[in-house]
Each structure stands twice: as C-alpha cells, then as structure tokens.
Amino acid sequence: MLLTFLFFPIFKWLQCVTVPVAEGKSVQQTVEMLNKKLEQLGAVKQGNFYVDCETYHAGAPAIANSGQSQKFLYVMHNSEAPLSCFALFENGPCLVADPNFDVLMVKLKSYFQNAKGNKVESRGARYQYCDFLVKLGTITMGSSARGISVEVEYCPCIVANDSWNLMMEFMQSFLSSHVPGAPAVFGVKPDGIYSPSDTMVQYLELFNKVRKQQATPSTGMR
C-alpha cells in the first residue's frame, strides 16, 4: 500500500503537524495501539466523537462576478458542539451558526455546489485524562482511511501559548517520539482566547492536507 499514515495532533487552536508512523501497520492497527497506550496511561474512554467537513464549490456565476479564483466553502460539524454548524473559508472567517445553516446551503445550491466526493470526516474515541481531553480519530475520505487525527485539549487553559510545554509533555507520554515541534500558527493569536471555531480551523487544515496527500497517489488509481 502506498499510503503513509500520518498523525495529526491538534491542540486547542494549535496547528496540526504531520508525523510518520512506524511502517508496516495499518491505520486501524495504529489507532488500536494508541488507544491501548492511552488506556495504560489511565485515560478513561468517554464515548465517541466525530468531526466532518463538506466542501462546496463557489459556482461559476459567483466567480464570474467576484473575479476571484476558484474558492471553496467548507461546512463542518463537531460532536463536541452538536447544535452548531461551522462554515469556513480557507484562511478566511469562520462563521458559527445553528444547524439551519445546512438547510440554507441547500437553498444556495445553484451558487455553491456540494462536492460530495470530497467529504472528509474523522471518527473515533474520546478519552479523558484528568483535565485533558484526547480524541483519537480515523480520517476517512470516500470509503478509505486516510490517516489518524489526534486532538489534545487541555481544558482548564484557554491561552494556547501558556499550555504548550505542558501539552508537549503529555503527548510524549503516549505518542513518544512523534510529538511535533511548536506549530507555526502559534503567533497568529498570541493573546487570544480559545473558541470552538479555532479547533475547526485546525481540523480544516488537517483535512485539506489529507485531500492533497491523497491526490497524488490516487491519480493513478482513478
């Protein structure tokens, strides 16, 4: 199999970083290994989670009018905020709306087309360890597993800069050497206070990486 499996640790609005996994293992096996490690650490499984992302193309008319290049609108959902719907542009604003926004997108279908094949989601188990929340998800696109997402949240702290060292140490305890360095997006919101849309921005970046990474090997398969 050509795929390399990737870890994508996500922190409270810290950029996700890719780390290669030991070869010769499937996504499933790696996820199981990580689950086991977390449980050994004393983390308690608390149900499941999902994050999904629909892609919408800005239709031809809109582009003709705005004179901009091809643009994507992403609509995302997160089980952590089940009554919210997040609409994002890459590097653009993130709108937090109620679930009726999905209905609105149906109304807008002649302007924004849903690229069904591009739906990406991550599903997996949710763990709690002290004040940490860890979500270990399998990223799937179409019907195949594309990678592993690791979301680590240190709930009591709302400023990312403050808890970075602490999170590093925690991640080392179950990801060992795969812990990423300080993410580049660090300085973007240095004093900012965490909001749920920050997590979604990170998931979007992560999912877009998956899409691009998938584009190369799969071209031959199509």
Binding site: C130, D131, E169
Partner: protein
C-alpha cells in the same frame, strides 16, 4: 476557739434535726395521701365534706408542727464554721483513720489542680485573644461581652477602609484585577481575575479572608440567578487542587494585628499562579505529574512544585 468542741455540741442537734426532717417528710406525705384518697364514704354529702376538711386540717397542723420543730433545731445547729478554708469539707481532716480513707489529702490535691488549671486557662485565653483565630462574628460578639478590653480592633473596620486597601492591592499588580462586591451587608466578596489563567472568589469578613475558591478563567463566576457563586467547585481537577492550596495559604498567612498585610501577602502568593501552566516543578523539573501541573506554590519563595514534590 476549739472546733472540736463546737462540733461536738452541735452533733446532738444534728441528729434531732435529721429525725425532725423525717417527721416532716412523713407528715407531708400524709397530706398528699389524704388528698389523693379524697372524701371517705359517709351517709350524707355534708358529712363527707366535714370529715374530709377536719382530717385535712389535722394533717396540715401536724405538718406545721413538724416544720416549726425543724426550724427550732436548725437554729441550734448553727452556721457551719467558716474558719476552715475548705469550709465543711475541711471537716474531713478530722477523720482520724487517715490510712483507710485518704479523702482529705485527695481533696487538697484536686483543689490545687483545679486552681492551677484555672490560672493557666486564664493565661491561655488572654493570649489566644491577642492572636485571634476566630473568624465568625458570633464568637467575637460573645467574647466581646465578657472581655471588652481584649476585643481586637481589627474586626471593626469601616467598609471604606476595606475598599481602600483592596484597591491599593489591585493597583500593585497590573496583571490582576480585583472587583469588590457586597452582596450581603458589609462583608465584601472579591472576584480576582488573574491574567487569563484563573478567577478566584475571596470571601472577606472585614479585612479577614474567610474563604476562597478558585476556578478556571472561562468558568462561571455567577450562578444562574446572576449572583456571585461562592460555593460551587471548579470542574477542573487542577483548580480544585489550587483551591485546596489557597485555603491552606489562608491559614498560613496570619497576622491579626495587621490584616491588610495578610491580604496583601495572600494576593502576592495567589499572583504566582499566573504561570500555573507555564512553570515546571522546581524539584522534578517536569510539567506534569498524574496529569496535573505544579499546583503548589511555596509560601516564601513562591516557587512552583507538584503537590507531592513539595517538602
């Protein structure tokens, strides 16, 4: 004057008095017996009443007689001798059989102990009153009544002064904002916001800190009815720990004569939590232990330690 003689004379009267008491008791008992039995059965109602009244009168007269007899005898008995420091119990010293009943020596011993105890208790209570640990008004009120002189003046501070002290402390630390509320009467409740790390609710009584609770920056400080919530604990383990430590700090910083210094020291100590998530433990060098950051701050050096790493 010989005690022995006077006691000897009185002994006769004593024994007579005791039998007089017995007589009195039995005649009183008869009063109640007759009242309990009620009227005896006679032919006419009038006859019944007459018999009952006359019997009752008889008995009452005998009670009166016995009482007079007792009074007469009690005058003979006389007042107990006051010359002995132990009053009547001093008579125990007259018991010639010391070896069998060492009551007197035991009594003296007990008396000495009780005297000593009272003296020490007095000393202790006056000392404790200067170093007041009492925090509730009820206790203070009670003690103020008994010993108005030693009541610490620190509890009757005008609210204006408290406001001043708090706002001065607030100005000392730019990264710490202190809001003052008076939800119930004159006692102040402070909401201390430390950077973007934590919020502490400090309940004051005059200038003494009564209670404190620490929560995360993003947790609610107001309850549903919009009042400041001084009871519920933080949902996060790390802040539950910090709350425990802060309570310890309240007991540590005590200087009853200068309560404003205490508040300032406590706030200085609390302020060291600004790096709660950033400072590694000064002993083991790590950030986490059992999933918790170093939650303890040394009272003097303000250095960060894990709860289990502190000396």
């Amino acid at each position: 004057m010989a005690d022995v003689v006077s006691v000897g004379v009185n002994l006769e009267a004593f024994s007579q008095a005791i039998s007089a008491i017995q007589a009195l008791r039995s005649s009183v008992t008869r009063v109640f017996d007759s009242l309990k039995d009620g009227m005896k059965n006679k032919e006419t109602l009038e006859g019944r009443e007459k018999a009952f009244v006359s019997e009752f009168q008889d008995i009452l007269q005998s009670v009166n007689r016995d009482l007079n007899e007792l009074e007469r005898l009690s005058n003979l008995v006389g007042r107990p001798s006051e010359s002995h420091p132990l009053h009547n119990s001093g008579l125990l010293s007259l018991d010639p059989v010391q070896d069998k009943t060492p009551l007197y020596s035991q009594l003296l011993q007990a008396y000495k102990w009780s005297n000593k105890l009272q003296y020490h208790a007095g000393l202790a209570s006056s000392l404790l009153n200067q170093q007041s640990l009492k925090r509730s008004a009820n206790q203070m009120g009670a003690s103020a009544k008994r010993r108005p002189k030693v009541q610490p003046s620190t509890l009757v501070i005008p609210p204006q002064y408290v406001d001043d002290v708090i706002s001065r402390i607030g100005r000392m630390f730019p990264d710490m904002s202190i809001e003052l509320f008076r939800p119930n009467g004159t006692s102040a409740v402070l909401l201390v916001t430390l950077g973007k790390v934590l919020k502490a609710i400090v309940v004051m009584r005059s200038l003494f800190i009564d209670r404190t609770i620490v929560r995360a920056f993003n947790e609610n400080v107001y309850s549903e009815d919009g009042k400041i919530d001084i009871w519920s604990r933080s949902n996060y383990q790390v802040f539950q720990k910090v709350t425990d430590h802060a309570t310890t700090a309240l007991l540590h910083y005590q200087l009853p004569q200068m309560p404003d210094v205490v508040v300032r020291s406590f706030m200085t100590w609390l302020r060291s939590y600004i790096k709660l998530f950033q400072a590694p433990c000064q002993r083991c060098g790590k950030y986490l232990q059992d999933g918790l950051p170093p939650t303890w701050r040394d009272f003097r050096t303000l250095e960060a330690f894990h709860d289990t790493c502190r000396q």
